[in-house]
C-alpha cells in the first residue's frame, strides 16, 4: 500500500488552516484553524449540527473543503483521496461490512493492502485478543451486540496502525454503563498507543474525561481550544461557559459600573464588588459555576433570610431598597455593606464578597449531590453542592461566591473579559481580583 505521508514511521501531526465547508447556503464549517499535535486526543465538542462531523470528514478526506487546507506533517493532503491518507475512522454507525465475518471485517484494511494471508490472520488474532473478540471471529455483524460491534469497528481501525484515529461519536449507540467502561478503555488505548485521536462527540463528559485537548465548535466556528481544565476553568465565551458543566455555568446579565474608585457588577438582587480601578460602564454577562456558589448562613446555621431591607422574593422593580434593577449603576438605597452584616458565619472580608439574593424554586436530587434552582432578580441560578444542601422550595436565600470564581463576558460579543490594569494606576497586582481573571488577553481563546 502506498502510505504517502509517512515520515520515518511517524507523522508530526495534523494542521488545519482556515478550513471552510458550505452546503449550498449552509456554512457547516467556517474558517477553522487548529493544530493537532502527534499523540493528542483531541475532542471536537459541540451541540448537534455545529459541524463536527463535517470537520472530521474533511480531515478524513471523505468530503472536500470549500476553502482552507489540511496538512499531515508537512504534506498538504487537502485534496488527497481518503484511501491514501492512512487515517483510520470509526463511524457512528460502525459501518461493519454486513456480509463479512468479524475476522474478515477486522482484516479488511490488511486485505486491501494485499498483505499475505498468514500475516493478516496473525494480526487479526492479535487485535481480537486485545479487544476480547477472539470468540466472535466467525460471526457476522448482525449476530453481535452493540458493544461488540463497537469493538469490532475499533479493531478494524487498530489492525493497521494508522497515523491517526478519527472517531465520530463511537459511543453514542451504547448504554450508559457500557459507555463509561468503553470511555476508560479508549483512554487506556490512547495511553498505550500514543497515537493521535480526533474524536467527535456532543457529550461533554466524554470530552472532559478522555481529551488531552478539547475544541468547542458552535455554528461551524471554533469557540475555544484547550485542555479540559482550561476550557472548563477559563471559558473563552458565553457559549463555552454555558455548554460545559452540569448544570452549566449560571449566566446573569449585569452592568459594570464604577463607584468610589472601585468597579462593581450589579443587577437586581445581585451585587459583585470587583477591583479598584475605573472603566466606562458596560453591560456584561456574569458567569458563576453552580458548584462555586455557597449559601450564606446565619448564626444558627439555617439559610440567612433575605434581610428586610431587600426582600428577595419581591421582584418588584419599584422596590427602592433592592439594588437597582435598571442598568443604572447608582443604587444608593441598598449599599452592599448593610446586607453583609446579616451573615455572621461568612468568611472574613464579607464586604468584598459577591452577594446574590433570591428564592429557591426547586431542588433536584442527583444522588451524591443536590442542585438547588433559585431565582435571582428574575434570572435562574443553579447551585450545586453535596447532599443535603439544606434548602427547600420557597426559601429565601442569600448566595455568595469567591471573587476569583467570577467570570465576566462582554454582553454583545460574548467573549471573555480579562482585566488589564492601566499603567498610571497603582497596580492591583496582588488583589485577589487580578489573580482570578487571567492576564492573558481574551484572544488567547482563539
Amino acid at each position: 500500500m502506498k502510505l504517502l505521508y509517512t515520515k520515518g514511521g511517524r507523522v508530526a501531526g495534523i494542521r488545519i488552516e482556515g478550513l471552510t465547508r458550505q452546503f449550498g447556503s449552509v456554512h457547516a464549517v467556517e474558517d477553522i484553524s487548529m493544530e493537532i499535535a502527534d499523540g493528542d486526543f483531541l475532542v471536537l465538542l459541540g451541540p448537534s449540527g455545529c459541524g463536527k462531523t463535517t470537520l472530521l470528514r474533511m480531515i478524513a478526506g471523505l468530503i472536500e473543503p470549500t476553502a482552507g487546507r489540511v496538512l499531515l506533517g508537512d504534506t498538504d493532503i487537502t485534496y488527497a483521496p481518503a484511501r491514501d491518507r492512512d487515517l483510520a475512522m470509526v463511524f457512528q454507525s460502525y459501518a461493519l461490512y454486513p456480509h463479512l465475518t468479524v475476522e474478515r471485517n477486522i482484516g479488511f484494511p490488511l486485505r486491501a493492502a494485499r498483505l499475505p494471508k498468514r500475516e493478516i490472520a496473525e494480526r487479526v488474532r492479535e487485535v481480537a485478543g486485545q479487544l476480547e473478540l477472539t470468540a466472535l471471529l466467525g460471526r457476522r455483524p448482525k449476530e453481535l451486540s452493540g458493544g461488540q460491534r463497537q469493538r469490532v469497528a475499533l479493531g478494524r481501525a487498530l489492525v493497521r496502525k494508522p497515523q491517526a484515529f478519527l472517531m465520530d461519536e463511537p459511543l453514542s449507540n451504547l448504554d450508559a454503563k457500557l459507555r463509561t467502561a468503553t470511555r476508560t478503555e479508549l483512554s487506556a488505548l490512547h495511553h498505550r498507543l500514543r497515537s493521535t485521536f480526533v474524536y467527535v462527540t456532543h457529550d461533554q463528559v466524554e470530552a472532559m474525561t478522555m481529551a488531552t485537548r478539547v475544541a468547542l465548535l458552535n455554528g461551524g466556528r471554533l469557540e475555544q481550544i484547550g485542555t479540559p481544565t482550561e476550557v472548563y476553568d477559563n471559558p473563552a465565551s458565553v457559549f463555552v461557559a454555558g455548554f460545559l458543566g452540569s448544570p452549566p455555568m449560571n449566566l446573569l446579565s449585569a452592568r459594570i459600573s464604577e463607584r468610589a474608585g472601585r468597579l462593581r457588577a450589579a443587577a437586581t438582587d445581585l451585587e459583585i464588588p470587583l477591583w479598584a480601578g475605573s472603566d466606562a460602564a458596560r453591560d456584561v454577562t456574569v458567569g458563576l459555576r453552580p458548584e462555586h456558589l455557597r449559601v450564606v448562613r446565619d448564626a444558627e446555621g439555617s439559610p440567612a433570610p433575605a434581610d428586610t431591607a431587600a426582600p428577595a422574593d419581591t421582584a418588584a422593580p419599584a422596590d427602592t431598597a433592592a439594588p437597582a434593577d435598571t442598568a443604572a449603576p447608582a443604587d444608593t438605597a441598598a449599599p452592599a455593606d448593610s446586607t453583609a452584616r446579616a451573615d455572621s458565619t461568612a468568611p472574613a472580608g464579607s464586604a468584598e464578597r459577591a452577594r446574590l439574593r433570591g428564592v429557591v424554586t426547586g431542588v433536584e436530587n442527583l444522588g451524591g449531590e443536590e442542585v438547588a434552582w433559585c431565582e435571582i432578580g428574575g434570572q435562574p441560578v443553579a447551585l450545586r453542592g453535596p447532599r443535603p444542601v439544606g434548602l427547600s422550595r420557597g426559601d429565601a436565600v442569600t448566595l455568595t461566591v469567591d471573587l476569583d470564581q467570577v467570570h465576566l463576558f462582554d454582553r454583545t460579543s460574548g467573549r471573555r473579559l480579562a482585566w488589564q490594569p492601566t499603567a498610571d494606576k497603582p497596580s492591583p497586582q496582588h488583589t485577589p481580583s487580578t489573580q482570578r481573571l487571567p492576564q492573558r488577553p481574551a484572544a488567547a481563546a482563539v
Partner: protein, 321 residues
C-alpha cells in the same frame, strides 16, 4: 433484631382486594373482540379475493381439467382419462424444442436483466438529480409501451426492406422468417423492453446500500475496484438474485406477446417457448386436458426452480441494520 427494609418507604397495608373480581368483569365479549381484530383483515380482503379468483381457482381447475379429455365446447362431454394427458405432454415431440428455446430466452435475457443494468446503474450512480431523472425516464419508456405496439414497430424495423438491413447493408435478410435469426430477433426486442425496468431495480438496490460501507472501505485503504468487488457487488447480491429469479420465471411470459404477434412460434417452431406451446394446445387445438397437464408440469418445474433460487437468495442476503 434486624428487619429487612420494605421495598417502598410507605409501609401501608396493601389496598383492598378490588382487583380479584375485575378480571372477568372487564374482559370484552367475543363479538366485541372480533370486531376489534377484523379491520386489518378487511383491508386485505380485496387483494385476497383477486388472488383466489384469478390464481388459485384457475390452478385448481387446471388440476381438474388435466385428468379429463375435453375440447372446451360446453356441449361436448368431458371424459376421464386419468394421467394419460401427462404422459402425452412428456412424449410431445415439440416439448424438447420449446423447453430448449425457453432456456435460450432465459440465458439470452440475463445479460440484459443483470449484467448491463448493473453496469448502467453503477456508471450513472454519480449523476446529478436532474440528469438521473432524465436518463431513467429514457430507459424506462420501452417498458411502458404496450408489447403489441412494440412488436409492430420492431417488425417494421426487421422487415427485409426495413431499417436494420439498410443500416447494416445486409441486403434483404428476413430476420423473423429465418430459423437462425428469428429467436435472437425476438430476444432483442424483449431485452430492449425490460432493460429499463432492470436498471431501475438495480439502481434502487444500489441506493439501498448505505454509503457508509464504501466510505469505510475507502478509509480502510481499498481501491475503487476493491470496493466494487468486495463491498458493493456482494451487498447488491440480493437484488441481482431477485432479477435472476424474475428472468428465469418470467422470460417466458415477457416473450409471449412478441412471439404471438411476430412469429407464432415459427419458423419451424424455432421461436416457440413452453408457454406459447401450452397456449397453442389449449386454444388452437382446443385440447384443454393436454394444455392443463402441460401447465401443471411447467408450474411444478418453475416452482422447483423458484424454490431453489429463493433458497440461494436467502443464503446470500445480508440485512444491514
Amino acid at each position: 433484631m434486624f428487619v429487612e427494609a420494605a421495598l417502598t418507604a410507605a409501609t401501608a397495608a396493601p389496598t383492598s382486594p378490588a382487583g380479584s373480581g375485575e378480571d372477568s368483569a372487564t374482559r370484552p365479549g367475543l363479538a366485541h373482540r372480533l370486531r376489534g381484530a377484523a379491520p386489518p383483515y378487511l383491508y386485505l380482503l380485496p387483494a385476497l379475493a383477486c388472488l383466489v379468483l384469478w390464481t388459485y381457482k384457475p390452478l385448481v381447475e387446471a388440476a381438474q381439467l388435466s385428468v379429463y379429455h375435453w375440447n372446451l365446447l360446453p356441449t361436448s362431454p368431458k371424459t376421464y382419462v386419468g394421467l394419460a394427458n401427462f404422459q402425452r405432454v412428456l412424449q410431445l415431440p415439440q416439448l424438447r424444442g420449446a423447453a430448449l428455446n425457453t432456456l435460450w430466452y432465459v440465458l439470452g435475457l440475463l445479460p440484459f436483466s443483470i449484467v448491463l443494468p448493473t453496469v448502467i446503474a453503477l456508471v450513472t450512480r454519480r449523476l446529478g438529480e436532474r440528469s438521473r431523472t432524465a436518463y431513467r425516464a429514457m430507459v424506462f419508456v420501452p417498458m411502458l409501451v404496450a408489447p403489441v405496439a412494440t412488436a409492430a414497430v420492431w417488425r417494421w424495423l426487421y422487415d427485409p426492406s426495413g431499417l436494420f438491413n439498410r443500416l447494416f447493408g445486409l441486403g434483404d435478410h428476413n430476420w423473423l422468417r429465418e430459423e437462425s435469426t428469428a429467436l435472437p430477433a425476438v430476444l432483442a426486442i424483449c431485452a430492449w423492453q425490460m432493460l429499463g425496468f432492470a436498471v431501475l431495480v438495480v439502481s434502487a438496490g444500489l441506493s439501498g446500500i448505505s454509503p457508509d460501507y464504501a466510505e469505510a472501505a475507502e478509509m480502510d485503504g481499498a481501491s475503487r475496484w476493491q470496493i466494487l468487488r468486495w463491498i458493493t457487488l456482494p451487498l447488491l447480491r440480493p437484488t441481482l438474485l431477485f432479477m435472476l429469479l424474475m428472468t428465469v420465471l418470467l422470460s417466458g411470459q415477457w416473450t409471449f406477446p412478441l412471439i404471438d404477434v411476430l412469429t407464432q412460434g415459427g419458423p419451424a417452431d424455432s421461436t416457440t417457448n413452453v408457454y406459447y406451446l401450452l397456449w397453442e394446445f389449449g386454444f388452437r387445438s382446443m385440447d384443454s386436458g393436454l394444455a392443463s397437464a402441460a401447465g401443471l408440469v411447467f408450474f411444478g418445474c418453475f416452482g422447483l426452480l423458484a424454490a431453489g433460487l429463493v433458497k440461494l437468495a436467502d443464503r446470500f442476503s445480508f440485512h444491514d441494520d
